[in-house]
């Protein structure tokens, strides 16, 4: 069974269109982030989240109105399945970072629910069936938030640098540049979509972004690997045809892998629960753009970079590859 029977699309012809399209999306995202700011989860901005479990379906607007300051900057939303009657209340501030003051804001929130006559919150839920209690809290002071932010950036930068070195070592420098540019492209596109769909930059989303780094690289390397193989067999062709052939040969695999991974993260999106929603959304966008960028960005950059120079066989071909392909040549 095949998805495409002997495909022969000229992908590389569309490289400039694709790059332009990517720029448009990235710019829209950048403008969105510039004007409205990237919403950050409490892990990064600091703040207080209180998840309250009520005994009956609560009115979200009333909860908001009861909060200190009328809930001007608060986020109040249903948490999880509506039958659980859980509400997440998020305030952009936490108590002072002195001694045990941190939870002062959280205490205020629960107190104000009682004062407004919505529910007398007795404390944290002691078992799974308790109601009118706090199902969970997350209180993050500014110190931790800043630390996590710098850690996230460090992880991304180091991961990219590590992969750049690895690919330059295994392939050619132009390949490494293509792969890293493609990955940065994926991160930017995903950030743009996150901003457009108003997802917060939480710790889980950062994990997803880093996973996308890995996935995008994975996809790019698979195509590169075929380009490298084709370069030895198609010495008379120009780089564009070599890359095109590789992309076409791998097209079935690209669609199947991309599709199946997409299926499993879509399952995660619909069934994975509230906490993983942001993660799954980020992955969905990332897998689509990662698949797209390995052809239209990573491979295209190799073509653009190598285009003016004569095609040479990779000088540092690994011994194992050379031997294997030599055997194949004899066999056929």
């Amino acid at each position: 069974m095949h998805i495409f029977k002997n495909p022969n699309f000229d992908f590389i012809r569309w490289k400039w269109h694709a790059i332009a399209l990517s720029w448009v999306i990235i710019l829209i995202g950048a403008i969105g982030i510039w004007t409205k700011g990237m919403p950050k989860g409490v892990e990064f901005s600091g703040g207080t989240i209180v998840i309250v479990k009520f005994d009956q379906q609560p009115d979200l607007d009333k909860i908001r109105a009861s909060l200190p300051g009328g809930g001007a900057n608060a986020i109040v939303q249903q948490y999880g399945d509506p039958t659980q009657k859980q509400v997440m209340i998020r305030v952009h501030s936490a108590g002072a970072e002195t001694g045990a003051e941190l939870s002062a804001t959280a205490d205020q929130v629960t107190k104000s629910l009682g004062q407004a006559g919505l529910a007398q919150i007795t404390g944290h839920c002691l078992n799974a069936s308790a109601t009118n209690c706090i199902a969970g809290t997350e209180i993050i002071g500014p110190t931790v938030g800043q630390e996590l932010q710098s850690r996230g950036i460090m992880a991304t930068v180091f991961a990219l640098a590590g992969i750049l070195v690895y690919i330059a070592f295994r392939f050619r420098f132009s390949f490494a540049v293509g792969a890293v540019v493609a990955t940065i492209h994926d991160l930017l596109i995903t950030l743009a979509f996150l901003a457009l769909f108003k997802y917060e930059l939480s710790l889980n989303v950062i994990a997803a972004l880093l996973t996308i780094t890995g996935y995008s690289m994975n996809d790019t390397i698979v195509i590169y690997d075929r380009v490298r193989e084709n370069m030895r067999q198609m010495r008379r062709d120009d780089i564009a045809s070599v890359v095109n052939a590789a992309v076409n040969q791998m097209l079935d695999r690209t669609m199947i892998t991309g599709g199946l991974t997409l299926l499993s993260v879509i399952a995660l999106y619909f069934f994975g629960g509230e906490v993983l929603k942001g993660f799954a959304f980020t992955m969905i966008v990332g897998i689509i753009t990662g698949t797209y960028s390995s052809v239209f960005i990573a491979a295209a950059i190799v073509v653009i970079w190598q285009g003016r120079k004569p095609l040479k066989v990779a000088p540092a071909a690994p011994a194992a590859t050379a031997r294997k392909s030599g055997k194949r040549a004899r066999a056929s």
Binding site: M1, I51, K53, G80, Q84, E97, T98, G99, L102, S103, H124, C125, L126, N127, A128, A130, A135, G136, T137, E138, I139, G141, T143, G152, M154, A155, A159, I163, L203, N204, A207, T211, T213, G214, M217, N218, I221, V222, E229, M250, R253, I256, T257, G259, L260, T261, L263, S264, V265, A267, L268, F271, G272, G273, L276, A280, P318, A320, K324, R328
Partner: protein, 531 residues
Amino acid sequence: MYKNLRWKLLTIVVVIAVFFTVGVYPLMADHFHWPLPAALKAHSLKLGLDLKGGVQLELRVNTDDALRITTTSTSEQLRDSLKNSNTAYGNITVAAPTTFRVEGIPQDRDSAFRTAADEIATNYDRNPQGAGTYEFRMKPTVERDLREQAVDQTLQTIDRRVNELGVTEPQIARQPQNDQIIVQLPGVSDVAHAKDIIGKTAILEFKLVEAGPGTKDDLLKQYNGTLPGDMEMVPGSATTAGEPASVFYVVRKIATVTGQDLRLAKPGLDENNQPAVHFELKSAGAQKFGKLSGENIGRYLAIVLDNRIISAPRLEGRITDQGRISGGFTAESANDLALTLRSGSLPASLTYLSETVVGPSLGADSIRAGVIASFVGLLLIMAFMLIYYKLSGINAIVALVANLVILLGLMAYIGAVMTLPGIAGFVLTMGVGVDSNVLIFERIKEELAAQRGVRAAINAGFSRVFLTLLDTHVASLISALFLFQFGTGPIRGFATTLSIGLFVNLFTSIFVSKALYEFELSKRQVPALSI
């Protein structure tokens, strides 16, 4: 040609069986209430706090406190030796956690002062500032060691306190390279109480009362406006908690006996049947206490806890190794105080930086959602592989299931922690596993299309794709390792799951999948491959 096949298949069956027993069976037994041997239970997969519920506190040790204590006691030590050598001095003040100043040393006593100051020269640098003023600054190496010690000691104290609270499997870890500590208390929901117990400095001191009780102004008047250098003003206990104290005492700065001399502390009742804390002293402490109380009968002794006087009873007679602290306790607060005194004092105060509480229902919801999502993803992938790759699809499914079983087993065996993002890593591992099989199958298809025999096509498919897999897996590992390095808690769980998954996947997609093909080929001459 396939003479090793029997061994390969046997290896696969044994590996899967072992990891199934370690990793999957305990989870199933837990869910379906099947019997589970204790040896397996001890090794069953550990769940992160986000899945099993509990409290996580991130706190900073204010190591400045510990430095200030050392600097103060060093300055007092110097004061003592100046007195003993009859050297006049004006003022000794602690200016910062690491520095103190001595003022007003007369010119002619300068050499005597230097001799006295040499005693503390090992830890403090002396900087003359002219006009008989000296600044003493803690040496940087001493400062670093003291800060380290303070964090370590805090860690140990918290550990003892948490154990006394009776929390099972608490995790108390120090963040590398800084003064932060993360405390995880599974199953605990009463955060306020936990925070209270953990964060109480619990520095207990017995100090002689020189004057008081009275208001600040009245007491100062008795000393003509300035207290002598070896005395200090300490607030008495407030009538209501949290309110500023209205009465003060003037007490000696140096405490003869402190909480470090305690051998035991337990809650009990005082003579009026009110809750109190009984304590016993170690022999050295008892000697000091006996001397102090014997020499000062009729005077008042302040019991100072965290710089606040709990009570100041009159010394009626010589007390040696036992005593009682009473003064407005409830049964619970007496119990808590006894607990904190038993576990030792904190060398420095704590500041809470973050606190997370995952209630029992939230954790259970997350597990349910994660498991359902994994199963749905797995079933979808299986269905597709069977339809698209026909019989070869079975091959991929076996490899995939083996991958997941080994992953769970390995995680359980090495004690890695499964977190919610870890479940996401699990789902992603399925994606990577499928990709490996798809790459191999598509390659085999290509080789078959090039009119190659079944055997040759399969061999070429595996050997050619191996390099691709190696490259992709190494690149993914690189990013997972950085994620582990810079991530915290749950994210580390994700990186762990992903890294182990990548290793296992290389084994299953190359070794397991190929052995299955070889098994198929060894049975008969296969005319066509179902792929």
